[in-house]
Structures are given as structure tokens and as C-alpha cells.
Amino acid sequence: MVQKPSGSETRRTFIKSLGVAGTVALAGCGGNSGDGGDGGSDGGSTGDGGSESYEITFWELFSGGEGPIMESIVNKFNEEQPLDTDAEVTINRQRTPWNEYYNKLFTALSGGQAPDMAVMHAAYLRAWAGGVDSIGQYADTGSMQSDYTASHWDLVTVDGNVNALPMDMHPIGVYYNKDLFEQAGLDPESPPTNWSEFEAAGNAVAQNTDAAAFTQSPYNDGFGSFRTWSSWVKQQGGSLYDEEWNPTFDNEAGMNIAQLFSDMTGDMGWSPATSEDTWGNNAFQNGSCAMAMNGTWYVAALSGVEDLNWGFFEPTVGPNKQQDKVWADGHSLVLPKKEGRSDAKSEIAAQVAHWMTTQNPSWGAEAGHLPAANSIYESDAFQNSPYYDKTLNKYVEMAEDGDYFYHPKVPNGDPNAQNWYTWLVDIWAHNAEPQAGVQSGIETVSNGISE
């Protein structure tokens, strides 16, 4: 196991750091203002009657419910000019949808046309270490650290280095249909808390209703399947990679859960054996699937569906569980390497990143993610979020318990590549035997990492 978050330690620091919430003012973030360095010589800044102006190009990938929230955060920044500097700073936001985002970011980087600031999943921080500037070069990360929860800080720390500022964490959980639970003769208000209850619930739905019981990912894709599968593998005590980043998930736990996937769409009769895109999403939203495992972001989609009476429970319901482990990744903000960007501009960009990640409760409250900054947990906006009682408080609880392990930060390749994990869909859809599927997965992932 190479993932860091060791349970008890994380729990203590998580709670402790909540205590200092809100005490850190923005001015304390290193005191870099626009007059440092040689800002005037930079292409993005122009002398304007003594004060300078900077345009920070910012790439992001948010769609669905998250896109408009990010847009409003950027607009707020451009209007309020919240930074402690005389310079005029504007963010030029450019959105690239997620499925092409990293390809585009990569080609922009290698072509010398990188943005000044970019959203990056924490899982990329190791493979992309050569492509981003260390944020500590341009900001006092030592003093910033206390603004963030310990687990978020841990999320963006790679080999002891912090190259990014954490923005959020988005773990997964199980969303369930209360009406279908009722139809199946289950108590809709006390969802499963362990494997035997989960198994009983699934069987009850499969036997007593026309609906399917469970989907491993509403998108029925490789990456989504991996989130579910890896959580249960870790719960059984299985590992995913060794110290040298060789995939090790063909261990007993890995095989068990692969077999479970195959059984769920086979003997158990929980779900049809299909590889159809978004099968589960349609089924869950139109009330013909009782449980769906997915990330924090799912709340935005579900709250838009009328007549769907849904609830949420923690995904620590894997069979033969040894420990509570739940997959998580998070968004972070990085400064991509860019020739010709002045130090002054980089410092401004670092401040912008700090402002974005610490001063915007709406990101957690409306997008449904776990915010990175301590102060946000105390804020009314977060506590009054429409999702607080439904999902967020449980996600916070899992964070306090130190349940999260992070999406593997592989040293090379594309950690979110769909084709690294499509073998899981093949197993789920009975296009591959579990044994053979896992073997081909080992091969695909090793090739992907060694590229």
C-alpha cells in the first residue's frame, strides 16, 4: 500500500485543524504583492498609471452542476478584486471538457502555450511534476498549510513536496432509491451499514421488485468501475500497487471483488450484464435501479430529477471487510510551467489560487464536494447547504474517521485514462472472465505506466 492517509493520525489532525478555522486572514498568505519581481516586463501585465494589471489565464474542466459555480467564483473575483495588491488582476477562465482536458493541457504545455493556472486532479500531481511550477516558489506554503485540512494538504503532497493548492476532495458513496427500498420491504430510513445488510438489501430488491439492485458506476465506464472496485479491494486489505508502482491488484482481494462484479450481473441477479454507456444513470434516475455508487458530484444531477426520492449511505459495505476504506480524489490548482511568465505574475497566480481555494464556500455547498479550507466547514453557506444532511455530513464523517485513500498518483501515464480500467466493465458485462480480466488489467496498467 502506497497511499498515505493513515487513519488515526488523519483523524486527529482533521479535527484539530477544524479548530483554527476562520482565524487565518488572507493577508497572511506570504505577503507577495504585485510590486515584487519584474512584473512590468511580463506580457500579461501592463503599466497603468503606476499600478499594474495582470491577466491570469485559468483552465478548468467543470461541467454539469459544477461549471456555473466555478464561473460565478471567477466573476466574483474579477468584480471584487479581493487580493491585497495595487495591481488589477483579472482571471481569464477557459473551460475544456474533462474528457479532452488533460490531452489539451499536455499539448499546450509541450507547445509552450500553457495557462497561468489550471485545475488538476490530485492523481496527476506525480506524473505531471515536471510540467508544473512548485507553488512554494511563489507563495509561503508553510503558513498557508494551516488554512487547509490536514487530509487535503496530504492529498496534494507528493514525495514531501507541495506543488499545488488543494481545492476539494470528492470521494464516493452509495446513492439509493428510498421508494424502491420500501417496495422491496426494506426500511428506507436505515440503509445498509455492512456487507450482510448490503447483500440482504440487494437481494430483496432483486427478488421483490422489477428493478435492478445496484450499479457499480452510473456511467458504466472503466474509471467509475475502478472507484467502486478499488474501495472494496482496499476494504478487504488488498493493495493496488507496490512501492515501485507495479500493479499488484491481481491479489486475492482484487480477484474476489472482480468475481463479485461478475456475480452481481450473474448468479446474484442484481443487475443486467451490460456494458451500455450510462445504463446505470438512466436506470437510477428513472427509478429502475435501487443503488448507485458514485462521487460527491452526483448530488447536482440527482437533485434535478423530479420524483426521485433518494438517500445516501457510506460505501464501507464491502464483503470480508478488514478496514474502512473509501476511494477519493480531489481537485487542486497548479501553476503550469510557462516560459516567459514573470515571477511577479506567478506570485499573483499563487495568490489567486489561494483565494479560490479558501474563500469560496459555494464550491462545497453547491457542488457537493468536501471543501479544502478549514474556514469553510464553519461557514453558514456550507452548513446550510441543501446537501449537508443528505450527503455532506456523511462525507465529513468519513473524513474524520480517516476512511479515504487516494486515487493512485502514478508516476507516469494518465491516471484517469478510461482504457486503463475498461477490463472492469468487461468483467461486469461478462465480456471477460474475472481472472482473465484482471490479468489484462495488470498488463494494460503496467504498459500505461511505463510509457
Binding site: 471538457p97 479532452e100 499539448t107
Partner: protein, 291 residues
């Protein structure tokens, strides 16, 4: 009609012909109907509320209960997505490429057919040979070149490679070559400059083929997929085809939105097609005739 075949058994062959003709019509119109089914399905579903769309049973004509028809999908797309922006982008890119292609292709075709200079044969030979180069072979080095020129995420990065296509040169070359030399000689005697010969003689004579070429290139570049996908990274610069796919692959997965976006995405070009059908078809037929 030769007498012999008709007189043999007039009645029988008449009914035989009628039956054959009826069968032919049934077959051809049946095929047309089948080919149109996806259109009807798309139009119908784009106006249906999600509750009907989630029903596995397709409704061709929505049942007249509740709220059978809705504009919500269209409203959503127009208010919450960049469909309008993408349409404008696509017009700029396809229109810009078309104008550039018609201008520079007609100029070189003019030079190669109506002017005489050493090496023109070799140049035409090279252009012809480039037909053998499949477009996709070039994308990797081309991407680097376009990137080095700073054209990534710019309209020019899409337009310029499109203008390098040899198809227009080839078609115009064939046409210009066959314009009788007498027109031009008369004009030269009247003191026309080369530029005047081009604008006043050749271009007017070539109007049908130029408009056909322009329409075909417009359609072709409107629909281009892989290259704009590579070059345009910012959502606000997308063309319609790229934007549509990103809506599809993003988090929008309600069937009604898919269908409405398909309608909005194809409407501009479909209107153009209905108006200029003849020219577009002719442009295709010319390729077949000269190929």
C-alpha cells in the same frame, strides 16, 4: 418503342409494367421512408418531456395526457450551453475556409491552365500526387507545426490546413483547362490585363463550378471533426460538431437534450442543403466524373 415487342401481347406487358412500376415505387419510397425514420424519431423526441423519454416504449406521437410536448430541451440548450456561440464559430471557420479555398485555388488553377511558365507541369504533378496522402497521416506533424506557429486554439489553425486540400485545385484545373482559348485571346486584344482576364472572363465563366465547389467545401468544413477537436481547446472556440460531442460525453445524458442538440446542430446546414441542393449534389458528381 420497337413495334415488335409492343404488338406481341400489349395487355400482358402493360399490366406487367404497371406492377413492376408499382413495386419499384414501393421499394424506392420505402427506402426513403426508412432512411427518414431517424429524422422523425429525433424530431419527435426532441419535443418530449423526460418522463416519456425514459419509457422504453418510443412515442412517435406523444400521448395527449399531461404535458405531452415541451420546449424545455431547446430552452436549456440555448440558455445553458454555448450552442449559439458554436454555431457562429462554425460559420466563421467553414465560411473563412471556403472563401480562402475558392480564392487561392482559382488563382493557381488559372495560373496553371491559362498562363504559360516553366515548371507548371511538375507543380500540377506534385499537387495531384498529394491526393495519395491520406489526411490523417499528417495530423501528428501538422499539429506540431500549427502549434509552433502559435495557431492552437485559433480559427486560423483550423482554416489554414483546410485550405491546403488539393481537391479544389484539381476540379478547377479540369474546368479552366476546357474553357476555349478564343475568349481570352479576344480579351487580350482588347488590352485586358491578366487580372482582368481572371476576373472578367474566367471567373464569370466558372461561376457554376465555383459555387458548387464553395458549397461543397462549406459543408465539408462545417462537418470537420478530428482536426478542430485537436486544435480548439477552449470551449468558447469550439465548432458545433465538437461542442455537441462534449455535451454528449459530459454530464448531460438526458435523451431529450441529445435529440434537441442533434436538431440544433444540423439545422443550419440542413437549411443550406435544402436551398442549394442542386449545387451541392453537382459538386459531388463532378468529383465522380473527373476522378
Amino acid at each position: 418503342m420497337p413495334e415488335s415487342t409492343q404488338s406481341r401481347s400489349l395487355g400482358a406487358s402493360l399490366t406487367g409494367d404497371a406492377v413492376r412500376s408499382a413495386l419499384l415505387h414501393v421499394a424506392l419510397y420505402g427506402l426513403a421512408f426508412l432512411m427518414a425514420v431517424p429524422y422523425l424519431y429525433t424530431i419527435s423526441r426532441s419535443f418530449q418531456p423526460n418522463e416519456l423519454l425514459r419509457d422504453p416504449r418510443p412515442y412517435w406521437i406523444p400521448p395527449l395526457v399531461g404535458e405531452p410536448i415541451t420546449l424545455e430541451h431547446y430552452r436549456y440548450l440555448l440558455e445553458n450551453t454555448l450552442v449559439v456561440q458554436w454555431t457562429i464559430n462554425t460559420f466563421i471557420i467553414a465560411g473563412g475556409a471556403t472563401i480562402l479555398i475558392v480564392a487561392i485555388d482559382s488563382m493557381i488553377a488559372f495560373s496553371l491552365t491559362r498562363l504559360d511558365w516553366p515548371g507548371q507541369g511538375a507543380i500540377m504533378g506534385i499537387i495531384l500526387a498529394s491526393f495519395m496522402v491520406p489526411y490523417y497521416m499528417n495530423i501528428v506533424p501538422l499539429y506540431q507545426i500549427v502549434s509552433n506557429l502559435g495557431l492552437i486554439n485559433s480559427y486560423w489553425g483550423v482554416i489554414m490546413p483546410a485550405a491546403a486540400s488539393p481537391l479544389g485545385v484539381f476540379l478547377l484545373y479540369q474546368f479552366f483547362r476546357d474553357i476555349p482559348v478564343e475568349y481570352e485571346e479576344a480579351a487580350r486584344l482588347d488590352g485586358f490585363s491578366t487580372f482582368q482576364v481572371y476576373t472578367r472572363i474566367i471567373l464569370p465563366l466558372a461561376k457554376p463550378i465555383l459555387s458548387a465547389l464553395a458549397l461543397f467545401m462549406f459543408v465539408y468544413n462545417w462537418n470537420a471533426f478530428l482536426w478542430p477537436l485537436l486544435v480548439l481547446s477552449n470551449e468558447t472556440a469550439y465548432t458545433l460538431p465538437i461542442g455537441l460531442v462534449n455535451l454528449y460525453q459530459g454530464n448531460i445524458d438526458t435523451p431529450g437534450l441529445h435529440m434537441a442538440v442533434a436538431i440544433l446542430g444540423s439545422l443550419p446546414l440542413f437549411v443550406i442543403y435544402l436551398i442549394f441542393q442542386g449545387q451541392i449534389v453537382r459538386a459531388v458528381q463532378m468529383q465522380g466524373a473527373t476522378g
